[in-house]
Symmetry: C2
Subunit: 577 residues, 2 copies
Amino acid sequence: MIKILRVNMKTKACDFQDVPAEYDGLGGRGLTSAIVGKEVRPTCTPLGPHNKLVIAPGLLGGTNCANSNRVSVGCKSPLTGGIKEANSGGQPGGHLAKMGIHAIIIEDIAPEGEWYQLELTKDTAKLVPSTVAGLNNYDAVAKLVQQYGEKNSYITIGRAGEFRLTAASIAFTDRELRPTRHAGRGGVGAVMGSKGLKAIIVNPEGGENLPLVDKEAFTAAAKRFSKALLEHPVCSQGLPNYGTAVLVNILHEAGGLPTHNFSAGRFEGHDEVSGETLNRLTKERGGEGVVAHGCMTGCIMRCSGIFPDKNGKFMGKWPEYETLWAFGPNSGINDIEMIVRYDYQCDDYGVDTIDVGAAICLFMDAGVLKYGDAEGCFKLMEEISKGSAIGRVLGCGAATTGKVYGRRRVAEVKGQAIPAYDPRAVKGQGVTYATTTMGADHTAGYAVTANILSVGGTIDPLGKGGQIDLSRNLQIATAAVDTVGLCLFVAFAVLDIPDALVAIVDMLNARYGLKLTLDDVPALGKSVLETEIKFNREAGINEFADRLPDFFYDEELPPHNVKYDIPEEELRTALTW
Amino acid sequence: MIKILRVNMKTKACDFQDVPAEYDGLGGRGLTSAIVGKEVRPTCTPLGPHNKLVIAPGLLGGTNCANSNRVSVGCKSPLTGGIKEANSGGQPGGHLAKMGIHAIIIEDIAPEGEWYQLELTKDTAKLVPSTVAGLNNYDAVAKLVQQYGEKNSYITIGRAGEFRLTAASIAFTDRELRPTRHAGRGGVGAVMGSKGLKAIIVNPEGGENLPLVDKEAFTAAAKRFSKALLEHPVCSQGLPNYGTAVLVNILHEAGGLPTHNFSAGRFEGHDEVSGETLNRLTKERGGEGVVAHGCMTGCIMRCSGIFPDKNGKFMGKWPEYETLWAFGPNSGINDIEMIVRYDYQCDDYGVDTIDVGAAICLFMDAGVLKYGDAEGCFKLMEEISKGSAIGRVLGCGAATTGKVYGRRRVAEVKGQAIPAYDPRAVKGQGVTYATTTMGADHTAGYAVTANILSVGGTIDPLGKGGQIDLSRNLQIATAAVDTVGLCLFVAFAVLDIPDALVAIVDMLNARYGLKLTLDDVPALGKSVLETEIKFNREAGINEFADRLPDFFYDEELPPHNVKYDIPEEELRTALTW
């Protein structure tokens, strides 16, 4: 039986409940947003008792569909003040799905200073005092593994989440039981911390693949889907060999790699912090290093390489492109080992690499650190875990750092930091940053596809033409993909190989006994977005908040010397249909 | 000739311009909001080149009308993200009016790190490199007085404004050339700092009372107005003898004096930090202490006493009620001398006492300081001037401090701290906090009048009935009063003595040759509010942001054990007509 688990942090009650019919056809982001939209008052205090934290695998979670075990986390965001969905790879998504847990809803708050962990099996759920409070993610998970064993997966927050910092993330363990996968954005870790929930122990024993209404049809469609992924060069070559860091040199070439706090679009040291360098050093050093590593069971794109130190020992995961960018080009640092260490710090303390990395460059903009000061950056990062004033500011991300240090060039939208694609040189991304319900989020409508990669068509990244429509269509499609539980990177295949999307629809029909057509996909995406837009409006945020900071309109970005020029009134049409 | 002075910080151009006809009948807040509404794009970056800082005396400034020389400061607020008007006493308002300067509009920004001061006479304006950059207000003013003389008045920012902290204020010198009067709220000092403008030297030489269309009628009405002020016990007895601190014991009695971060409505040490104690110590110590001191020429209510130290030397001005409350009851401190010193620090560094005081109690809530730690508070305050991380957080006010320290009981609306009247025990104030265009602001619709003081009627402060209408009417009236340039405290007389308002209308007619009736006053107020509401909507803030933090609805306030209970949907009707 598929169930919803409702956990009350005040009463400690853990109730398995039937899934209401109104949530039929929803999973992942679609489900977290529907539950948040229905159960959370949009004006509530994000860190207070009335917010809820919802964790949900997607519609194709717990099946043999490739890359379908992402897990979504939803709540009202303490960072943006609006609705939030952040999703993650790692093992818990697949485990929860196979255990028949459609969603976990964490309600109310524990008394201040009390910390609990949720022991979860297929049929039982129990809150017990946490044995790992005060620990960061690596130590916490190691201790939990000792206590509960290696067959589980773990969901934890680090000290940043305990401190309720607005860039705090939630960590999900990977296949090696490391806390390397994160629901990173929007301060979901602060919400988990605000509830007094330090960890979830996911014991998948007895879980199994979910029932399929038409097993044969499902298996056939799943094979076609895998084939499409393996055919697409980005999915089958670029990502496994270079990780998402494959983008460093590409964005540098395109002149859209934000450098020194969005002052230029190219970075001299780009090659030193690129996916090619990750690949080369990993191969050269061998040992525990891995090229083409999957972060979750069922992944066939395997972008999450493991980076070895000079002795071949585990040093950290391959940083994502956005992490490399934030600490690298945008902060003037070209030392890839140091960036691996910052990434490890972020994973350990439990913070979003994008927002914290973007905050680092604002400390540089303010003169607290010098651009390129790799050692100074490391020390400043350590302050997050110490809970000092400066560490808390950093751990609250770019918007708060910009405010505290009186910066005027703060690349954020609705309080969330703009990621690694300069909107002036990748104008479709600018539309997405400005208009998504999530605050600046590159994944919400990844226009880099047609703007830079010629995936799903080609649109001049420097021009205005077609960007609104591109972003709108991608945002709608992404809301659907996030609902299905698929890794966003399947989008490369979906956009270029028509059968990939057909295969997804076929799998949904075969899994649930539905008769969806391709036309139902955008309808699903729109419906998810409408729920999110309504929440944001009723949280006090209207469409005029859909804008980019002035400096993108005022300052030319080298080398193309281009400004952002899509008028705000046009941006406000992106999420209308 | 009445003129508008337009100062461009980038080009250094200073142009005297005619007042456009569309601004006829506007001064003070009505004028600053009209100019900001017309010239500032609501989505602009508040600390960037597109924001403007507007300084304007009121419609009856530069006349013999009592208490009419307030000065308004308007801009887009870096604290709230919406429109802002903060007004101040002191000498510059009257000087500017008599010099025929209807408004100063400060545009664009100087290059980063360059500081200027504006030398202003009746007919000339010139930007010159500042001689006082890096100094706090007391030293800056002292040096400017040495350089420019004692007949001028001065408008300055302290280091908090230079740091562009969001609780930074703008200081206006009083009659003794001390920087004790402030446009305190909303971070107007950060906007002045963002422009690179450190000081304005106002040389009133040659200025004179403004022409009156009907001198005789004006003089007669001005006398009636003064008579009303002198007849009203709050204006003629309470305020001169005890300052605004007359309210400490009154609010304690009413159970609406927020204590220990809004945890209770009474404070054991209330008498030690009351207006009565200010009065007694000032009289006992003598020397430079003054009871019944006016902050500006033409003031007949004289609430701004001077507090002497044990040797009779100037120690600071009498703190306002809200200052005494923020550092006193709400922070558990009952040492009035220490509070005078914090107030001096705020005046010197140039920060809003309300938002910074409200931040202090959040440091206590977070355990960084202990409640009642008077010495620790003083040292923490010093950090503001040092520009350390913790000092910057404090200088950004309560909302930022609450965010950085992960607090959930943060008394703020739209990013601005809630002042010294607990909304649960003074429910009309709660309506004003939630709904004013300014972020939580007690002055925007001072329902303490009918709720507590039985001025302008009597409405049960603990009940819901009539509070929405009360707040609406007061907000409309206040927008008009702020436009006329009158000190808000005239409202006590206006609300109780019918002829006071008639006298104001008569003065406006006699000054400008108009035929206004009493009915035109609310029309003016509504029109000002409509301009402000439109700005906020187009800045991305809609009516759902008109709410109070959850804890006022969730927690009972002793001693009346009352919660806030006016539903959000009713609050959203407060600014509709």
